[in-house]
């Protein structure tokens, strides 16, 4: 890979970071091929040096909720004064889903809000509608997922009551990265389970 390519990739990363887009550093390094280490040092040094951009209000609200043990997406939705039904309706209409499937869309939205579904499994099309409905950026919706499994949380940091009794094994299974889409999945399943390109 020529020098100009490493420089170009670094400049692309830097510009995206400065615009608050939270670029995927590992993906950039992969694109640099056998000069990935060189690019990694540049990006690493840049992140050690740079003054980060000011966060969006939506992102602050989500982090505050997560830190308090609440569901970040629910906090964001409430901060926008949007009911869950309105989110479901926006998805059904925006994605051209049959009205008869509304209940299943509602179930997936619940799983997403409850941290039972890793947002990285969700189609970009879903995230775009969600972001528009919640007046947020798609990357804000991707920022948080279920906390890693581990010992029971200390009382002060337990999540919201509706999440505290979730079986951790079930949570880990549901939050796992997408496998190849099973043939029995229909359009609604693929939108919420098959990954960003669905």
């Amino acid at each position: 890979m020529r020098e100009v390519t490493v420089s170009t990739l670094f400049d692309q990363f830097r510009r995206a970071f400065e615009h608050g887009e939270q670029p995927d550093a590992a993906a950039f390094v992969e694109r640099a091929g056998d000069r990935g280490e060189e690019l990694a040092e540049l990006i690493g040094g840049y992140l050690l040096d740079t003054a980060p951009p000011e966060p969006s209000e939506a992102a602050v609200a989500q982090l505050a909720a997560w830190l308090q043990g609440e569901a970040p997406l629910v906090a964001l939705r409430r901060s926008r004064g949007v009911e869950r039904d309105a989110v479901v309706d926006a998805l059904v209409v925006g994605l051209g889903i049959d009205r008869g499937e509304r209940g299943r869309v509602a179930d997936y939205v619940h799983e997403l809000e409850a941290g039972l579904l890793d947002p990285r499994r969700v189609s970009r099309r879903v995230l775009a509608v969600l972001a528009e409905t919640l007046a947020a950026r798609p990357q804000d919706l991707l920022a948080w997922r279920a906390r890693p499994t581990g010992p029971a949380p200390a009382a002060a940091f337990t999540r919201a009551p509706e999440l505290a009794d979730v079986d951790r094994a079930q949570l880990a299974e549901l939050a796992a990265p997408p496998a190849a889409a099973p043939p029995e999945w229909d359009e609604v399943d693929r939108l919420f389970l098959a990954g960003p390109d669905a």
Partner: protein, 182 residues
């Protein structure tokens, strides 16, 4: 007033106002990026976990009233604390993975991984003095004096990219030195 100075002044203001969520959200992309760059694509999920662990740890400490000072009582810039804690946790994760030891989860008791002990005896200035030549100069200017990379490059007569590379390498070495620091 440079972006850097504005940013640091904002950190001080947020700390004084105890607006810890905003302060940590500001640094979340840095934390996530550093964890990702050190663990790479095949450990992307672990990088996410480490980033969230850093934020939760620092939030708990800030909420408990912790201030980050070196052994002489000088306040360490919050940006430097965030970056060092991230590097420590990444290194801790990699060491535990290599030894097949369990990695502390988000809800483990603070101190279980010894990072608190490291932060408590944080002495950046002494550690930086142990770095070789240019790396020490770059880290001193960037981490202690908060000088932006272009200005460091101008003062040292090197390229900005060279500053980034030395800062990246120097910080990894700093983590090793601080760990061994009695």
């Amino acid at each position: 007033v440079s972006d850097r100075e504005r940013s640091q002044a904002e950190d001080v203001r947020l700390l004084a106002n105890r607006d810890h969520a905003r302060l940590l959200e500001k640094y979340r992309p840095v934390v996530h990026g550093l964890a990702t760059i050190q663990l790479r694509a095949d450990l992307r999920h672990q990088a996410d976990d480490i980033a969230q662990n850093v934020l939760l740890r620092l939030w708990r400490e800030l909420e408990a009233g912790k201030r980050y000072c070196d052994r002489d009582g000088r306040v360490v810039p919050f940006g430097a604390v965030v970056r060092l804690v991230t590097s420590w946790l990444v290194k801790d994760f990699l060491q535990k993975r290599d030894r097949a030891e369990p990695v502390p989860g988000l809800d483990d008791e603070p101190g279980a991984d010894g990072i608190d002990e490291l932060v408590a005896r944080l002495d950046l200035a002494a550690a930086i003095d142990q770095l070789p030549g240019r790396a020490a100069a770059v880290c001193r200017l960037a981490l202690l004096e908060d000088v932006p990379a272009p200005e460091i490059a101008r003062r040292l007569g090197i390229t900005v990219n060279n500053v980034y590379q030395r800062l990246h390498q120097g910080t990894k070495a700093l983590v090793e030195i601080l760990e061994a620091y009695a």
